[in-house]
């Protein structure tokens, strides 16, 4: 029922619109016809007024102009044309079929000017004075039929076509609108149903469910439509967003690089600076953006390098690097790599890219490496120097100078041993530091290991008139250690105890059980170690000053370092007690290994 009403309303609406359009069209056409008539009337009267009277007079020879005029015009609009004298008498006239010249008198101004007037019977008249006065004062009058609605007949076909098109369009629009509105209609229907039922207090779950279903369907439909519509605009803005996203992603990537980045525009201004630049160069990013390099860069090396890229020089097609210490940041070494930013094989130039890398660690490592090499070569050269000199002394010595011969041989032997120890310890330190020396810890009875070390030290000590003793308890708890590594640590301690002893002194190697640990101690009666040195004796390459020593004790600053490292590798600790002039005691504290775990090796 309702749909029918809508249909009828639509059809009626369409008809109204068609009628309106037709009326508007007719009105427009008529007014345009009227204007045409007026224009041709005015021009016709003016034209006629200039024609000599004799050509207008129908009584003279041949057809007059008026006759010709009528013969020519064919649309029937021209009703009549007449020439009148001052008394209103007709001198000449011609009229269309069924028309006559009305007898209405001309207004007085017709003698001097042209005019127009509307006459009864649907006539419009144009008049004016005749220029030729050969027949006295005369007037021209031309009458036209007012354009009627009859002229519309020609346009009926066009009108009909227009009306048909509109009439067909209406149902089409109706169908489209109906399709769009159908879900809403269904929803409305449901709501009404619920409403009706609600009044009757009988709302059933089914109705509500149906309503919910319809609502959902509608929402789905609506959201689909919205999505459809949005997709169009989204596609446009999505392109933009993709670009923005890409740019943000790129910036984030540049910012997260460990190196500092600077980009210079072709003009030399800083167009981008990553946050890492600030700690590297000691200049705020905000202070350098859009600024030329010379205004903020205080590092001559970097400025010189960047200046090379300012011009169009050939070498600026390639990257160049420079290492420098930044003027604004202390204790840093930087490496700056500068290269042109180009694309499309150099066809497009975006300026210059500067990559700043913190090479402080590399530089320090290099320096430490250089120091190490210098130190080791010095340590090797010193004994070589002594060996060379003693060898020469030996060669030049008198055959009977037995004391000098023995001394020379002893020194040479000592120095060779020193070099040997240095090379051995160097290898061990290198293994230890590169991590290639991993301890193989086994539960070991320390007795044998200590006895071995003691026996190994005996001959060396006797050569120096030293007394070496070993003090072990009857039962020594087992510890988990790497035997070979531990032997190196023990030997280094014993070597020092012998080396830094005084003639007639003694060395005591002892071990004892304490709570949860075993303490191994090496005590000497040597020169002792002063307080300032005590904390540093375990440092790599540290050597206690031997200013007051009467005899050289070639150390190389690795023995105690290595011993301490090995003990640490066993999770133990090494301690030092010392009194200058009386002696030193180095003690190694090791945790006792739980009896259950590991293998006991004897």
């Amino acid at each position: 029922m309702k749909l029918n009403r809508i249909g009828i309303a639509l059809i009626a609406g369409a008809l109204v619109v068609i009628a309106l359009v037709v009326i508007l069209l007719v009105h427009r056409q008529q007014s345009s016809r009227s204007a045409d008539v007026r224009a041709s009337g005015v021009s016709l009267v003016r034209a006629l007024s200039r024609i000599p009277f004799k050509y207008l007079d129908s009584d003279s020879q041949g057809p007059s102009v008026l006759n010709t005029l009528f013969a020519y015009q064919n649309n029937g609009e021209l009703a009549y044309a007449a020439i009148l004298d001052a008394n209103g008498r007709t001198l000449a006239d011609v009229a269309g079929r069924g028309t006559f010249v009305p007898g209405a008198a001309l207004p007085p101004e017709a003698a001097t000017s042209f005019g127009q007037r509307t006459l009864p019977n649907g006539l419009i008249e144009f008049y004016g004075p005749l220029a030729d006065r050969s027949a006295g004062q005369a007037f021209v009058r031309v009458g036209f039929h007012q354009p009627g609605y009859a002229v519309l007949a020609r346009d009926v076909q066009f009108m009909a076509l227009l009306a048909l098109t509109m009439f067909l369009l209406v149902p089409l629009v109706y169908v489209v609108v109906k399709r769009e509105m159908a879900p809403l209609d269904a929803l409305g229907h449901q709501l009404r149903q619920i409403g009706d039922v609600g009044i009757a207090q009988q709302a059933s779950a089914n109705d509500v469910r149906e309503l919910a279903g319809s609502l959902q369907a509608y929402l789905q439909f609506a959201s689909q439509r919205i999505a459809q519509l949005e997709r169009g605009s989204l596609n446009a803005s999505a392109d933009n967003q993709v670009l923005q996203y890409g740019s943000k992603k790129l910036t984030a990537a540049l910012q997260s690089l460990p190196d500092g980045l600077l980009m210079l525009a072709p003009g030399g201004l800083v167009s981008f600076a990553s946050d890492k630049v600030e700690p590297l160069l000691g200049v705020a990013v905000d202070a350098i953006l859009e600024q030329p390099v010379d205004t903020w860069c205080r590092d001559p090396a970097l400025r010189t390098l960047l200046a090379r890229y300012a011009g169009n020089q050939r070498d600026t097609l390639h990257a160049h690097s420079v290492d420098f210490t930044p003027a604004n940041v202390e204790g840093k070494y930087l490496s700056a790599t500068v290269q042109p930013l180009t694309a499309a094989h150099g066809a497009m130039a975006f300026g210059t890219l500067v990559v700043l890398r913190d090479v402080t660690r590399e530089q320090l490592a290099r320096q430490a490496g250089n120091d190490f090499v210098a130190h080791v070569s010095h340590e090797l050269k010193s004994p070589l120097n002594v060996i060379g000199m003693y060898a020469e002394t030996l060669a030049d010595a008198d055959a009977d100078d037995e004391t000098l011969r023995v001394e020379s041989l002893n020194v040479i032997q000592d120095e060779i041993e020193r070099m040997n120890a240095l090379v051995g310890n160097l290898l061990n330190v290198s293994k230890l530091e590169t991590g290639s020396m991993s301890p193989e810890r086994n539960r070991v009875r320390l007795d044998d290991l200590l006895r071995d070390a003691y026996e190994h030290a005996l001959p060396r000590a006797e050569g120096k008139q030293l007394r070496v003793s070993l003090d072990l308890p009857r039962e020594l708890e087992a510890v988990a250690i790497d035997k070979d590594l531990f032997r190196i640590a023990l030997n280094n301690l014993l070597t020092n105890a012998i080396k830094y002893n005084r003639p007639g002194g003694s060395v005591l190697l002892a071990a004892r059980n304490e709570d949860h640990e075993i303490v191994i101690s090496v005590r000497d009666t040597g020169i002792g170690i002063a307080g300032a040195d005590r904390e540093r004796v375990f440092d790599k390459f540290y050597r206690v000053s031997e200013r007051d020593a009467k005899v050289a004790r070639g150390g190389h600053g690795l023995g105690l370092y290595l011993a301490a490292q090995i003990v640490e590798l066993h999770h133990g600790r090494i301690a030092l007690e010392s009194e200058p002039g009386i002696g030193s005691t180095f003690s190694i504290h090791l945790k006792i290994a739980p009896a259950a775990s590991g293998v006991v090796t004897l």
């Binding site: 010095h378 120097n385 000199m389 030049d396 000053s545 200013r547």
Partner: protein
């Protein structure tokens, strides 16, 4: 001819021992100091005819001692020999600035040292 006096400065006892033997055998009087401070103290007592010094020493090293010896005794342009195992060029710059100063490259031969000194006093 009076005995020439040589001040020998090195912290390595083996070195001073051997060089002293060789120099004394060649007829020189030798005083040994184990660092720059001791050497300056010796100079205050008796100016040497030749100063032979190591560079790397605990206490005052040769780098400090040699220029100090020159500036303390401007009227005595005794020859200075610097013993060094360092071959680095920068080590030599400070010594170049001193007059009458030469290098002795380690390993050092006592025989060569004696010959050098002989040329020096020839």
């Amino acid at each position: 001819m009076t005995q020439r006096h040589i001040l020998l400065v090195d912290d390595e006892p083996h070195v001073t021992r051997v060089l002293r033997l060789a120099l004394e055998k060649a007829g020189y009087a030798v005083t040994v100091a184990h660092d720059g401070h001791a050497a300056l103290a010796c100079m205050a007592q008796q100016l040497p005819d030749v100063l032979i010094s190591d560079i790397q020493m605990d206490g005052m090293d040769g780098r400090t001692l040699c220029p100090l010896a020159r500036s303390t005794y401007p009227d005595h342009d005794f020859p200075i020999f610097v013993m060094t195992s360092m071959t680095a060029l920068e080590e030599r710059d400070w010594a170049r600035a001193l007059s009458n100063t030469e290098f002795l490259e380690k390993p050092l031969s006592p025989r060569q040292l004696v010959a050098r000194l002989a040329r020096c006093f020839a």
